[in-house]
Amino acid sequence: MTRERGRGSPFAPHTAAETAAMLDAVGVDDEEALFDIPDEVAFDGEFGIEPRGEAEIRAELARTFAKNDDLTEFLGRGHYAHYVPSLVDHLSLRSEFLTSYTQYQPEITQGFLQALFEYQSLLVELTGLPVANCSMYDAATALAEAARLAGRVRATTGARVLVPEPAFLRAGKRGVLDNYVDGTDLSVETYPMDDGNVDVEALSELVDDDAVMVYAENPTVRGTIEERIDEVAELAHEHDALFCLGSDVVALSLLREPASVGTDVVVGEAGVLGLPTSYGMGLGIFATREEFLRQVPGRLVGASEERVAPGAERNGDGSAAEASGRRVYTLTLQTREQHIRKERATSNICTNQAWVALRTAMHAMYLGPSGLVELAEDCVRRAADLAGRIDDIVGYQAPVHDRHHFREFAVRCDQPAAAIAEDLEGKGFAVHVVDEHLLQVCVTDANAAHADALVAAFEEVA
């Protein structure tokens, strides 16, 4: 039988006969009779959106995306590309994962819960901190949530949040932070950097008992590796402020373990594993100390036990309800969250980035500990190598900061940076312009094969 469907939704399965029978069962003549909308607000216009076939839309989008220039990107500054193994797509796209939602019924969502538990475990291992949630939207919102947490748990009456000077904190990240603290009494202030590292002496002048949090990044947005991270943490603690560190899951595999230097909250980007380049889409890390567990924003997965009740099949002997001993997983400590605590919740977050967390965990497990460390070490080697090669070209100086670098580094150029970047774009390469005479270049496994060509292009446009 042909399914008689007009130009309705292709994803509504009703045949005309089925629709008629259902309307009949409900007791109305047509669907319109089910809408209780007063005439004065009823919409009788058109959106003017022509429905298209699947093939047509894919062709249209393919044509449109082809308008993006085919550039080899040497871009980073918070959004990074690493090769994502095929396994991640194939398994994360299994519909049982992709088309599920938050695990409100843990008895039929054990799979995703265990995957998120493993993601949390990965973050606990990388940070050394015992509590990691199962996602924030991105690094910027995670930092902003950390500041709000610092405000809630503060041991002082102070309200100052100290962050790096503008050159060392992306404007977008700072902007999100400003918005998240706008409704609180917290104020955001900056401290200076010293050649790519925290200017600890200047910071010590700025940290006082009014500070509630000091934020630093390792690596920084310019790719420099922070060398005095423990002194920064110490300074914060001397004044009862929290120390919050921004990083990412690849860098954390190699750089100093945050807990070992006294970090209170780790935020940053986890989507560097599992997500391809995606116009800034991310996965925010949020890990912290045990004592702040009940102040954590977002969802937490915990281990629990099955409860087998009297009369249940498994212990039909009528014994009292008891744990079966089988380990299971569930969302936990939900009284922190908006659906229960409403305006007193730790955050408004509901829908999060769970599927990205699944992908990140898959990618990390795929690499294993040695693969992760190797990937991270290559981020240091490749940056040093490429910076050295660009430094050899007359007219450039790289890296600008006298530090070790991770993935990326700043390049000082004699010519105006914007003009050089434009010329490079004409040759098929994208790099960052960060100041009048400052470029930034990011190199990973995803673009390293094109490093020779980039160096040649730099030579030509010098």
């Binding site: 007009g6 939704s9 994803f11 259902m22 409900v26 809408f35 909308i37 007063p38 919409f43 959106f47 959106i49 298209r52 989008l61 449109t64 082809a66 993006n68 550039l71 959004h79 519909s95 088309t99 599920s100 938050t102 039929i108 969502t109 799979g111 265990q114 995957a115 291992e125 939207y137 919102t141 999100v176 060398e227 373990e257 116009y279 800034g280 969802r299 281990a303 099955e306 087998v308 249940a312 089988r326 969250e337 908006q338 229960i340 305006e343 955050s347 408004n348 829908t351 599927w355 699944l358 990390a364 795929y366 294993g368 500990p369 040695s370 070490e377 240091v380 080697r381 040093a384 960052h432």
Partner: protein, 495 residues
């Protein structure tokens, strides 16, 4: 011993067990040769960093690809998705997620970095612009920002827009009014923006009580946040009057887009007097829920508020070409700034665009028609009372003397995902049910059968359910009393 695996027993249940496989610890650092920080220490051997900059070791599972493939396949088999069966979770709009949208989002040319120059990502900007346009038309809004990465982020952005609007006028307002039946995110978003929340009780039919609203508004009212149809599926028939009351008090009207799937092509928030709204594209526009996210929560506003939207937005620009428009990013004049570090959940936005294009005017209108028909048909087949009507795309049945959470657990045994339970709170033992348009009559009959079977069962049967699921009833209290949030916590328990 770190790695949990699951295996199936003879009865189809599973036993969790610890793998025989130990996780592996690798030593990190130890680069004596480069101590002192020689910039070009990269020699391919040993660590490229001096010891004092690295961690000591890293301990994680070390598994082969086939082992991992089995692990995640097994985990997926212990998970319920829309493609597993009906998923009538109220207020979540668990639609089918068309496969082709995933392929569209996977286009390699769409994989661009957010710091690319505008002229080099014209295709990306064109799609963003197209989606801004589509959403504006569907919601009756004049301007849209796609930046918020989820519905709650859209609420937060929208309330910041309202705040900026009042502040620009030198108008110091401190309160946001929210019906007690609203989604929890509304309260939390308003509070995050620094507002005092004024909770509005529902009238006896679950709608906004006009008298209570009149009493609640004042010079302090920044906005009223409203879901329409409301959280039991009822259209706020007095919406024009509600808008008047709020506007007369100098406040703005905010539309929570969670229930927009009820209204496509029949009513638009902009026409009802709403000034600001967010869209849940993972609900209305069928992008996958991904086990909790990512979604996207674009925010739309009327013309007067466009200058406050998050930055950047996309607009058409002059080009040399007569046939091809160009696009550019711009910062709205009095923009509230950023609610996401970059530009939101780009891959999700592509899928939403593709879905809207697939359905077009007729398809979108039909989606709502069938969503409302399905809810009403299912409602007519179940034995539980539904106190509030006429409902649209969802209904709140009451479990009466039964415990709604137990009913839900028993429904699992009948092979369906249960509704949202015990919410909204003003419905006793609520079971908020939203089948969406994707279910056929047979599936709705199966769902009704699951409801009705549970309705006829005794409390003990309900309390001991589920019995046929991957895991039996899970002890929530134990999980919260003794939080074990990682492998490490299990280890320290001596497991």
């Amino acid at each position: 011993m770190y790695y949990d695996q699951a295996r199936y027993g003879q009865n189809g249940e599973y036993e969790p067990l610890l793998s025989e496989k130990d996780s592996t610890t690798v030593e990190v650092g130890g680069a004596a040769s480069s101590a002192g920080g020689d910039e070009n220490a990269a020699d391919g051997d040993g660590s490229p960093l001096p010891d004092h900059l690295t961690r000591d070791s890293l301990t994680l599972p070390e598994l082969s690809e086939p082992e991992l493939a089995r692990h995640y396949t097994r985990l997926s088999q212990m998970n319920w998705g829309v493609e597993s069966g009906p998923y009538p979770l109220g207020s979540c709009t668990m639609k089918y997620n068309p496969k082709f949208t995933e392929d569209a989002a996977g286009d390699p040319n769409a994989a661009v970095h957010p710091d690319r120059s505008e002229q080099s990502v014209q295709g990306t900007l064109e799609v963003l612009h197209g989606l801004q346009e589509y959403l504006g038309r569907v919601g009756g809004m004049d301007a849209v920002s796609l930046q918020p990465p989820a519905g709650a982020a859209g609420e937060f952005a929208g309330i910041l827009v309202a705040k900026a609007y009042h502040e620009t006028r030198g108008d110091d307002r401190t309160e946001v009014i929210i019906p007690s039946s609203a989604h929890g995110t509304n309260f939390a978003s308003a509070a995050m923006a620094g507002y005092d929340v004024v909770e509005l009780p529902s009238d006896e039919d679950g709608r906004v009580d006009l008298e209570a609203l009149r009493a609640a508004v004042s010079d302090d009212t920044a906005a009223l946040m409203l879901t329409n149809p409301n959280t039991v599926g009822l259209f706020e028939r007095d919406i024009v009057e509600i808008a008047e009351i709020v506007h007369d008090a100098g406040g703005l009207l905010y539309y929570d887009g969670a229930n927009l799937n009820a209204l496509l092509g029949r009513a638009r928030p902009g026409d009802m007097g709403f000034d600001i709204m967010h869209y849940n594209v993972h609900k209305t526009f069928a992008t996958p829920h991904g086990g909790g996210g990512p979604g996207a929560g674009p925010v739309g506003v009327v013309e007067e508020l466009a200058e406050f939207l998050p930055s950047p937005r996309v607009r058409e620009t002059e080009t040399d070409s007569l046939t091809e428009p160009g696009y550019e990013l711009f910062e709205p004049e009095r923009s509230i700034g950023k609610v996401h570090g970059f530009q939101g959940n780009w891959l999700v936005l592509i899928k939403a665009y593709a879905y809207i294009a697939r359905l077009g005017d007729e398809g979108l209108a039909d989606a709502s028609a069938k969503a409302v028909l399905n809810a009403n048909y299912l409602g007519s087949r179940i034995d539980y009372e539904i106190p509030y009507a006429p409902f649209h795309h969802e209904f709140a049945a009451t479990a009466g003397e039964q415990d709604a959470a137990d009913v839900a657990k028993r429904m699992l045994d009948y092979g369906v995902h249960p509704p949202t339970t015990k919410w909204p709170e003003f419905v006793p033992e609520a079971m908020l049910t939203e089948p969406t348009e994707i279910e056929n009559r047979e599936t709705l009959d199966d769902l009704a059968a699951a409801f009705n079977a549970a309705a006829s069962e005794d409390d003990e049967t309900l309390a001991t359910a589920p019995n046929r699921t991957t895991a039996r009833r899970i002890d929530q209290a134990s999980a919260a009393r003794d939080p074990r949030l990682s492998w490490h916590a299990l280890e320290s328990d001596g497991e």
